[in-house]
């Protein structure tokens, strides 16, 4: 808690290229420059890591020194004058770039990083392709560093971002720089591989194509791909991500910065959980019409049960509540648990492997575990059962699978094949989180938007539209609305614009989120 008797340090007034700029106290100069829109090329600095000052790319002229200094290390003092452009700074940048390209291989044609590579961009901007180096380049090995990552040693520029990440964020310290001089390269101890739950973040932050994601290797040229923002739904953390979509497939997820949720990071398990989207196990054939399903539910009388999942969107849960209330149905919710993990920095991977448990709490309050409902089904207390699942790779509770033949009528809505299907009178192939619009509420109560990344497989429909049509068939609803329409109905006073790019906590002010840093311009 800040001491109320001590006023906080005042901001510092500096001049950047002649223009006065207010710098928050204690922040490094490069941080200030980047966040006030001044472009300063850099490699080794990252806002989520301590600065290293080794790439020398961020050299600027400062009034406190005769020579150029690295802006990533300077903490500005009152009255500091900074020049980030002009012949002297340009000469410094050109020189550093020329040195950086001395041993860096001309791998662009085969390098995954092409198109999103800071070295490529800076070389294009500052050197126009000229290098005077005529010697033989140093050779460093290309090899696996662990399960997910392959390092191309020749490309490594020894910026140490990956090492600092493993030291400061995960605390697992599997990486180091080995050797000396121009034989320096990032590496592990030969017997201890890179193996932590967030290891793929090192690939994101590698400024060049040295560290590569084996799952993404050669999958797509990023300039042919689309980037789409969404939320990872593999646990209750709700990390903000951006998908790289190519030829209608999600090729990878990368973290998107959100200081109220995941900072700069995401975990491997979540970002790699995309194989199910285009899997062959996806359901495509429907069984039964909406009218059949409505009839099947009405036939249950007052012995209807609905089992949904805690990965359904807030809109869908709202509709489930509408349906359950109207039918007087008992409700249960499928879930998924797994190992949790906390990084040294505090980043957590939640044990709850679903995306919207808080949404369930919000609409339904405390609900008994779904196995209770499954036993009720087994005991014959349920005549009509509707099961809707949105959790990929769920482990179906044995009690529910065993009880599946018992009800008089069973309807199942799911994305992929599941053990209940043989007993279902109605089957609805449905879309997954990557194919629909909607919102989910993370563990902290923040509502965040998921967006469609790819077109759903033919024959599928979203639970959002299915539930609305079902409600309409039961005479409980007049119109079938978009996800935003349902959202406005469920949350009067809120709309998707207010949810924004970074989410909103209902009840908190609708002012923009407090984090003053938008990490602009570097990855």
């Amino acid at each position: 808690m800040p001491d109320p008797n001590v006023s906080p340090a005042p901001p510092v007034r500096i001049k950047v290229n002649g223009v006065e700029v207010v710098a928050p106290p204690g922040k490094r100069l490069l941080d200030v420059l980047v966040n006030t829109g001044t472009t300063v090329p850099h490699y080794c600095w990252h806002p989520g890591l301590t600065p290293a000052g080794n790439c020398r790319m961020c050299l600027v002229k400062v009034s406190t020194s005769r020579k150029l200094e690295v802006s990533c290390m300077i903490v500005p003092t009152e009255g500091l004058e900074v020049t980030t452009e002009g012949p002297e700074v340009d000469a410094g940048r050109k020189a550093v770039l020329e040195y950086m390209l001395v041993n860096h291989p001309l791998d662009c044609p085969i390098c995954d990083k092409a198109g999103e590579c800071m070295l490529q961009d800076n070389t294009y901007d500052y050197r126009k392709g000229l290098s005077r180096f005529e010697e033989d380049k140093v050779i460093r090995p290309t090899k696996d560093l662990g399960r997910n990552i392959k390092i191309w040693g020749n490309r490594c520029i020894s910026c140490t971002r990956c090492i600092r990440f493993c030291d400061e964020v995960t605390g697992t310290s599997e990486l180091t720089i080995v050797n000396r001089g121009d034989h320096s390269v990032a590496d592990t101890h030969p017997e201890v591989p890179l193996d932590n739950p967030m290891s793929l973040c090192t690939v994101d932050i590698c400024p060049v194509g040295a560290l590569t994601d084996k799952n993404f290797l050669y999958q797509a040229r990023v300039w042919f791909a689309e980037r789409k923002d969404t939320i990872c739904t593999s646990c209750a953390h709700g990390c903000n991500v951006t998908a790289t979509v190519y030829k209608g497939e999600v090729k990878r997820l990368q973290p998107r910065t959100n200081h109220d949720v995941n900072g700069y990071w995401a975990c491997d398990a979540g970002r790699l959980n995309i194989g199910h989207i285009a899997s062959e196990r996806r359901l495509k054939e429907a069984k039964g019409t909406i009218a059949d399903i409505a009839k099947g539910l009405r036939d249950g009388g007052n012995k209807v049960a609905i089992i949904a999942s805690s990965s359904h969107t807030l809109e869908e849960l709202y509709l489930v509540r509408q349906l359950a209330t109207a039918l007087g149905a008992r409700v249960g919710f499928l879930g998924k648990e797994g190992p949790s993990w906390t990084a040294k920095s505090g980043f957590t991977i939640e044990a709850d492997k679903t995306s919207n448990r808080r949404g369930v709490d919000l609409f339904f309050g405390v609900v008994p575990p779904v196995v209770h409902l499954a036993r009720a089904v087994w005991d014959g207390q349920v005549r009509s059962l509707l099961v809707l699942n949105q959790i990929p790779d769920i482990e179906w509770p044995q009690e529910l699978v065993a009880a599946a033949p018992k009800p008089g009528w069973l309807g199942v809505s799911d994305m992929s094949e599941n053990p209940l299907l043989p007993f279902a009178q109605a089957v609805v192939p449905t879309t997954c989180w990557a194919e629909k619009d909607g919102t989910v509420m993370n563990r902290d109560g923040r509502i965040q938007r998921i967006r469609p990344l790819v077109a759903p497989p033919a024959g599928t429909r979203s639970d959002l539209s299915f539930l609305q049509e079902l409600l309409a068939a039961l005479g409980l609803r007049k119109h079938v609305m978009s996800a935003e329409g349902v959202f406005r109905e469920a949350f009067p006073g809120l709309d998707y614009a207010k949810v924004g790019a970074l989410g909103v906590v209902p009840g908190a002010s609708t002012a923009p989120p407090p984090s003053s840093e938008r990490h602009v311009g570097s990855k």
Partner: protein
């Protein structure tokens, strides 16, 4: 084989003091060299684990014991290997990767692939000028292996290493930890024969080497100027505390500690004496002490005994033959800066020096000159000897601190400077061995006495390490200000074999080179002091003076020192990491005759492009001498580029076939 006193365990009793001194124990069990197949796990015995714990206690943070722990792995298992590194990582609470990164940074740790005898041929300029290439070629031919090769029987590994600080004994090699001086190709043959004979006489694969080279003999060349630091250096037993105290040693420290003189008064006295750092930078010692931050943090005195500047071999002499002179200097400095702990960072290759220092430190503890209540006063001082692992950049003060803290020798961004934020974030003073050795004299005789020798801005005497093509190489203690030509020609005998002088590098290889014409000029007369050499566009530096005769190919000389800087660059920052490698390779291409004339200017620009853009000045140390050679001996580069013989006998250096990459 001569019996030596190296193998006797230290006989110093358990010392008085807060922390007992570190006494390396005698043989502690079987020493295994490169056992095949290597075990999958390594574990120290309980006794060695305890030894490591006691080492850890000497540092404020446990992981600073990493470099000493690697030496323990060497001693116990014969090498540092991957399971050993994991074991040490677990004991010290650091990651395996950290240990691996540290291990691969340094060159002097034994690897699991090393043979029983690692033959390290010094190849830097002073040894190259006196035929080191012939020594390497002889050994390579007889052993049938090339650079970095190991004989199939696992007996020999052959390496080229950088300056061993033994330049007056050039050409020299190091066999494991032993120096062998003034080699000839014939002597090489003899040594190999001696080694093989020793091994044959005592067979068995899992024992330590049977052969130890005879200990180095020290000598001083004749010198008309009276010695100050070197007064007693060659007397038998000069390295013992008894000898030192009998000649009045430790009296100044005793008087100081039992006085109530304010420490600031000592700082002022040293400042007024005009003493300037003797390690290379020449910064006013008293001024540096005045920069210490005033806060509650503990203060550290760190001794830079990482003598690695090519051509320099003065600290080695002081450490091996008069360590107590420096130790008393440490006491005085520690009093002045109020440090309770001092660390002597000694370069990894100085195994003998580290042993001698540990012995001297033990003796001082035993007499109550160190530890708790120094000289019966209320003050404490602990000294710890910390061996490096083989890296020139650990002579840079913040590179040294990074290494002392248990890491790779990476220089730190300045500011903050060590006097404000140094070792473990605390205010730290790093001083050179020779600088500290000057302190007892200054305290005894006063600043005016110190200033009475030397020049107005360069007070006192300095040790100059003269080497290369000169009749009497060696350490010369001279008052600052003696003309450079007087040293070379009037004192040291001039150039051997009737040859003419061609060039001099007057401050260690990081100093711009001087032509013979500049050296011999009457006006301006170049004197051996800070100002005169700076005015001549070079620097005094460490005081190493490398003399080159008319047969020296300057293209070869430049390539030689640029290879040194490329090997020694820590690799952190882009311009130095890439630039030193680049200019070394281009220089090599010039030497082979494969470069063009237009590349001379390019080489100059590439060297200049590193300057002022790096974390430390190793880049400058490579660029400045290189540029001076390019400028002053341009004709030789043009001749090489045009495919003409440069007119110099390449007997000192080796001519490589076109297409070969590195020597």
């Amino acid at each position: 084989m001569n019996p030596t006193n190296r193998d006797k365990p230290s006989t110093a009793p358990e010392a008085i003091g807060n922390k007992p001194p570190i006494t390396p124990p005698a043989a502690s069990g079987a020493r295994v060299y490169a056992s095949r197949p290597p075990p999958r796990e390594r574990e120290f015995t309980p006794a060695v684990k305890l030894e490591l714990e006691r080492i850890c206690e000497r540092y404020p943070k446990r992981d600073a014991a990493l470099l000493p722990a690697l030496r323990l792995l060497e001693r116990e298992f014969g090498c540092v290997d991957e399971p050993g590194m994991r074991h040490v990582a677990a004991l010290l609470g650091v990651s395996a990767a950290k240990v691996f990164g540290v291990f691969t940074f340094y060159t002097h740790y034994r690897r699991s692939t090393d043979g029983r005898y690692v033959m390290q041929v010094c190849s830097t300029l002073p040894c190259a000028l006196r035929g080191s290439e012939k020594i390497f070629d002889q050994l390579a031919a007889e052993l049938g292996i090339g650079k970095d090769g190991t004989t199939p029987d696992g007996m020999f590994t052959l390496k080229k290493v950088e300056c061993l600080a033994n330049c007056d004994m050039a050409p020299c090699i190091q066999i494991n930890e032993d120096f062998v001086d003034r080699l000839t190709p014939e002597a090489c043959t003899q040594i190999l024969a001696d080694i093989r004979a020793a091994e044959a006489a005592r067979p068995g694969s899992n024992v330590r080497p049977a052969y130890r080279a005879p200990p180095q003999q020290y000598h001083l060349p004749p010198n008309p100027y009276p010695p100050v630091l070197l007064q007693h250096i060659l007397e038998p037993g000069s390295e013992t505390i008894d000898h030192y105290t009998r000649r009045g040693g430790y009296e100044q420290a005793r008087k100081l500690f039992t006085s109530s003189r304010p420490p600031d008064e000592i700082i002022e006295a040293v400042f007024q004496s005009g003493l300037r750092g003797r390690g290379g930078a020449g910064f006013m010692t008293g001024q540096k002490w005045k920069f210490l931050a005033k806060n509650d943090k503990p203060r550290y005195l760190v001794v830079n005994a990482d003598e690695s500047e090519p051509g320099t071999f003065k600290d080695k002499l002081l450490i091996d033959k008069d360590p107590h002179l420096m130790l008393e200097g440490i006491l005085i400095a520690a009093y002045a800066i109020k440090a309770k702990a001092a660390y002597i960072y000694i370069r990894g290759e100085f195994g003998r020096g580290a042993r001698i220092l540990n012995q001297a430190v033990d003796e001082a503890y035993a007499k109550g000159f160190l530890g708790k209540n120094v000289f019966g006063s209320t003050q404490d001082l602990d000294i710890t000897v910390h061996r490096g692992g083989g890296a020139y950049i650990c002579g840079e003060e913040t590179g040294l601190l990074s290494s002392l803290e248990g890491g790779r020798g990476h220089p730190k961004i300045k500011p903050p400077f060590p006097a404000v934020e140094g070792a473990w974030g605390a205010p730290t003073i790093v001083n050179n061995v020779e600088t500290l050795a000057c302190l007892p004299g200054i305290l005894e005789h006063g600043g005016a006495w110190f200033k009475s020798r030397g020049t107005e801005k360069s007070a006192g005497t300095k040790l100059f390490s003269l080497c290369g093509n000169v009749v009497r190489p060696g350490n010369y203690e001279l008052p600052l200000g003696v003309p450079l030509r007087e040293l070379i020609f009037d004192i040291a005998g001039g150039i051997p074999n009737g040859k003419k002088l061609k060039a001099v590098c007057p401050g260690g290889s990081s100093a711009p080179f001087l032509t013979a014409e500049e050296v011999m000029r009457d006006d301006p007369l170049i004197r051996l002091d800070f100002e005169s050499l700076a005015a001549a566009g070079t620097m005094l530096g460490s005081g190493a003076i490398i003399v080159m005769d008319e047969d020296t190919c300057m293209v070869d000389a430049m390539w030689n020192i640029l290879r040194f800087y490329a090997h020694e660059s820590c690799g952190q920052c882009t311009p130095c990491r890439e630039g030193t490698g680049w200019i070394a390779k281009t220089a090599g291409r010039f030497e082979r005759g494969g470069a063009r004339v237009d590349e001379i200017d390019k080489l100059d620009e590439v060297a200049w492009g590193m300057v002022g853009r790096t974390i430390c000045v190793l880049a400058d140390a490579a660029a400045m001498p290189a540029r001076s050679i390019l400028r002053k001996f341009r004709a030789e580069f043009e001749a090489h580029a045009q495919g003409k013989a440069c007119g110099h006998d390449h007997g000192s250096f080796k001519k490589l076939p076109k297409g070969a990459l590195h020597a």
